[in-house]
Symmetry: C2
Subunit: 556 residues, 2 copies
């Protein structure tokens, strides 16, 4: 055999091996796998180094646009992953990581996720998913029932109906929100006589058909940024996503909403949908959903509720009333990778009317044929993994009561933390936790006292300086890598219409204790002792006493 042929055959055999010969348990990858199985938290705690490397330093390991020409040994690659990727990733499950919505996962999610990967089902059609299709349909029904509390008698005809779906499973809340508004738009411009509907004829002709000069979507200023994407994508335009100011508690101002709806009417702009928020991303507040449902009914427009964060509050007998009115929504977004504690990549939208998704139904010759139960006929995405299995597992293993405990615990911890912040001399609570999210900022009592006596102009200047202080604290704390809070910019009822920079805390990780919260604050106070921050604080004092000497400032 000539040398090159021999080499080719050897290559081919190696190639078969990667599809047929399992990783040996004592291989590098096998060992990592075992370590994760034995103790994820331990593995992550050991391997995710706290020592910060800048993003630019990390980039140095990911510069080349060349696809390697030759194969690499799995063990060699695994070593790279361990050193360069795992070591420099974010320990999202750490109980001190309270800045974003990603929390710890229940242990059973890991082996089940591996099973899901091994099965590699594709939920777009029954032919590549079989039992996973009825399972996903059941999950949608369970969440539908959680939201709408329809009679048990309602479900048998809909859950596995080949013509319909009670909702759409998707990769996350953004696709869910887009799907909801897509359905709303297509229902508003449904086929009518010679008009074949917007799905066929497009937006321009649809507006002509309804003799409207435009479309608008209304939501509070706290609406998620995915709604802007939806307005862009659907051809509505971001200018027509009308952001209504909020009251002092980050809830939509109903009077302003009514005014805006009147204005749109006078401009012949059709309100496509009113979006209520059940758990704003930045502050965790809930809009007055019942009032929004009334207004949507009055203006005959779609009522969507973005409950990506807050939906699971419905598990809690104590707190479910906060979401009262959600059952009147035409559509509701839920994110399983948030408070259902499922790994990243699991969102849903459910529709009150089980025929609503017909407005975006589509078919093809090789799959999604009419009459099939293929879920892909009613989803924005095409091929999708079997993530619904992990939601099914969570709902079954944790159960309604388990989720209730988790929800109650988070809300109560947030209220307790708010109380501590209110009493802490160095911090100012900037939004009360209605659910388990709150915001605050570093603003020592001495500074606040000075600010109380300032005129508006001085106050604005002082806030700009405090913004810098809080940005620095957040950045330094993130880079120190021990704990993490996020930051955003918000209006605060104490400071009129100007936005200020605040620190944001999300309390969904059941392993986050009061002691950890204390240590987060302690670290922030320490960070505030840096010369750079002291200088900024001194500048605030100077605003109040522009002609004073340093002594007086120090005293104040």
């Amino acid at each position: 055999m000539p040398k090159s042929k021999e080499a080719a055959r050897a290559n081919l055999e190696n190639l078969y091996r990667i599809f047929t010969v399992p990783e040996a348990p004592d291989s590098t990858l096998g060992a990592i796998d075992q370590a994760i199985t034995d103790d994820v938290a331990g593995f992550l705690g050991t391997h995710i180094v706290a020592l910060e490397r800048t993003i630019e330093e990390i980039e140095a390991d990911f510069l080349s646009p060349e696809i390697p020409e030759d194969p690499t040994f799995v063990s060699e690659y695994t070593e790279f992953v361990k050193q360069k990727l795992v070591a420099q990733s974010v320990h999202t499950a750490a109980p001190g990581f309270i800045g974003h919505m990603t929390s710890a996962l229940p242990y059973f999610m890991l082996p089940l996720a591996r099973l899901m990967t091994a099965l590699n089902q594709n939920l777009v059609k029954v032919e590549t998913s079989k039992a996973f299709t009825p399972m996903e349909r059941q999950v949608l029904a369970m969440l539908h029932r959680l939201v709408y509390r329809s009679d048990a008698g309602f479900y048998p005809q809909w859950v596995h109906n080949s013509k319909h779906a009670l909702g759409a499973f998707c990769s996350g809340g953004t696709i869910a929100n887009i799907t909801a508004l897509w359905v709303a738009r297509n229902r508003l411009f449904a086929p009518d006589g010679d008009f074949k509907g917007i799905a066929a004829e497009g937006l321009q002709r649809s507006l002509q058909h309804l003799k409207a000069d435009g479309l608008a979507v209304l939501v509070s200023r706290r609406g998620h940024y995915s709604l802007g994407k939806a307005a862009d994508l659907l051809g509505i335009g971001r200018d027509n996503l009308i952001k209504i100011d909020t009251d002092g508690d980050n809830r939509i101002d109903l009077e302003l909403l009514q005014q805006e709806l009147q204005r749109l009417k006078s401009c012949n702009i059709r309100p496509l949908a009113i979006v209520g928020i059940a758990g704003t991303t930045e502050t965790g507040n809930v809009d007055p959903l019942n009032s929004l449902a009334d207004i949507a009914a009055e203006y005959n427009c779609h009522f969507h509720v973005d409950a990506a964060w807050g939906g699971p509050i419905l598990f809690s007998e104590n707190y479910a009333p906060l979401l009262s009115g959600i059952e009147r929504a035409d559509s509701v977004t839920l994110d399983a990778h948030k408070q259902l504690y499922v790994p990243m990549g699991a969102g849903m939208v459910v529709f009150k009317d089980p025929t609503a998704l017909s407005a975006i139904e589509h078919h093809a010759a090789y799959i999604l044929r009419l009459g099939s139960k293929d879920l892909g006929s009613h989803t924005l995405e095409g091929s999708r993994p079997g993530m619904a299995m992990l939601v099914h597992a969570g709902l079954s293993i944790i159960g309604r009561k388990g989720y209730e405990l988790l929800i109650d615990m988070g809300i109560e911890r947030a209220r307790h933390f708010a109380e501590q912040l209110r009493n802490h001399e160095d911090f100012e609570l900037t939004s009360e936790p209605e659910l388990n999210i709150l915001t605050y900022r570093y603003a020592p009592q001495s500074v606040r006292r000075l600010m109380a006596a300032m005129n508006l102009e001085q106050k604005c200047q002082a806030n700009l300086l405090l913004d810098q202080v809080n940005r620095l604290i957040q950045k330094d704390q993130r880079e120190a890598g021990k704990t993490f809070v996020s930051r955003t910019r918000l209006r605060s009822k104490n400071y009129g219409t100007k936005v200020i920079t605040v620190l944001r805390v999300v309390l969904a990780n059941p392993l986050t204790t009061d002691a950890i919260l204390q240590s987060v604050l302690k670290e922030q106070v320490e960070l505030a002792g840096q010369p750079e921050i002291c200088q900024l604080l001194a500048k605030i004092k100077q605003l109040r006493f522009p002609h004073a000497g340093t002594d007086l400032i120090a005293e104040a």
Copy 2:
């Protein structure tokens, strides 16, 4: 302590356990996990039963819309998963499962997927993904370079540029195609003087601004159904997704395309994009990409190539020329969960112009801030898992040469299989495999001989009967559960403009041998022996000899 308090504490402790205490290796779930680690193929082979239950029978296990009130033991739930879900799922990795685009996975994907789940990074922002962000940016650069072959000197300024992204990673080809057309639309209606652009002002005003009466997207009749969704979603309308007929080899007819473009011009409808296909879903053919690039340039419109299936052909020195012209596309869709052998949920779109994605850029106050390197500023989706790691692993471990072997093997196997079908007396090849997909149908030589002598009307009748025959064979084979081919409806050059039902085979699983392909055909011949099918075939013969007795028919 009162009983209820005691119970509550016990519940709480159990709840902590699911977040902190790993699955014991000897638990039911631990055992499954170990079995998968030891030998996925063996586990799946043993547990996915071939015995078919109807979808209605399976649904009986997934009927209740009730979320269980109380927690369930993990072991109990795992038993349910094993019996009711795994046993009734589809063995997509089986080498006889050649009907769809999901194939076997390299073994290392499983432990790496578990690591990904354990890390639970969220790629929307650096704060929840850190090293995963540069890693995903590198993957996008690698695929960009594979497609566009830009100079190495091109990349350093773009790969990690905080203002831009060379592409967008997403859950699959559908989102990739939608993203491409979204970018195309927003670039066509870019801000211009007082006009703020379509993202802000919406589609209606944009058309007014360009003084156009509509928008159109052009693609061959073989275009993927996701393009219809895109036309609907983006407000263009499905009627304005113009489907151009194909030539005898399922490639777009360039003359008809030119005619259509002229017609649109005369109607003042703006061609938004021409979409070329590199590997049609149903037949695996490649449009003449260079000619399409010329035409797109002539009409000054966006040129998108849907290479979800065929993109990885570029790894092959032998076959890459089939995709010649792809480097002239403005945007290209690629699916890693197809021929990059990554688990479900990994698509990409890359753009020739590294600033193209600015057209859909978006920001928020708490993440995706201007100047951040957050990937979420340029993606349709929001929160996303770290799937890019598995693409990075595939590219590194398998390497360009490894993928080349896989691609070459699939194409050569398909050509060999086509040869066998051509020589088989019971089958008719209905589309030649340009890549590794082909279609054929059961049509015994005796029947074909009779059909050759039929008039057009009789031929149509005969084809309708053969359609039924092939539907039955496909369905029965799927239900028997040993092997699987899919079916679709296509025009075939032998039968004019009528569509016929054909069987479809995708040869991407490296474990599929010629012997397995033989057994697929053998099973189909056996299934064709059923009385129901014999009757249908007899009816075809009757068409030719309407007045003949049974003897003559049997003879013919």
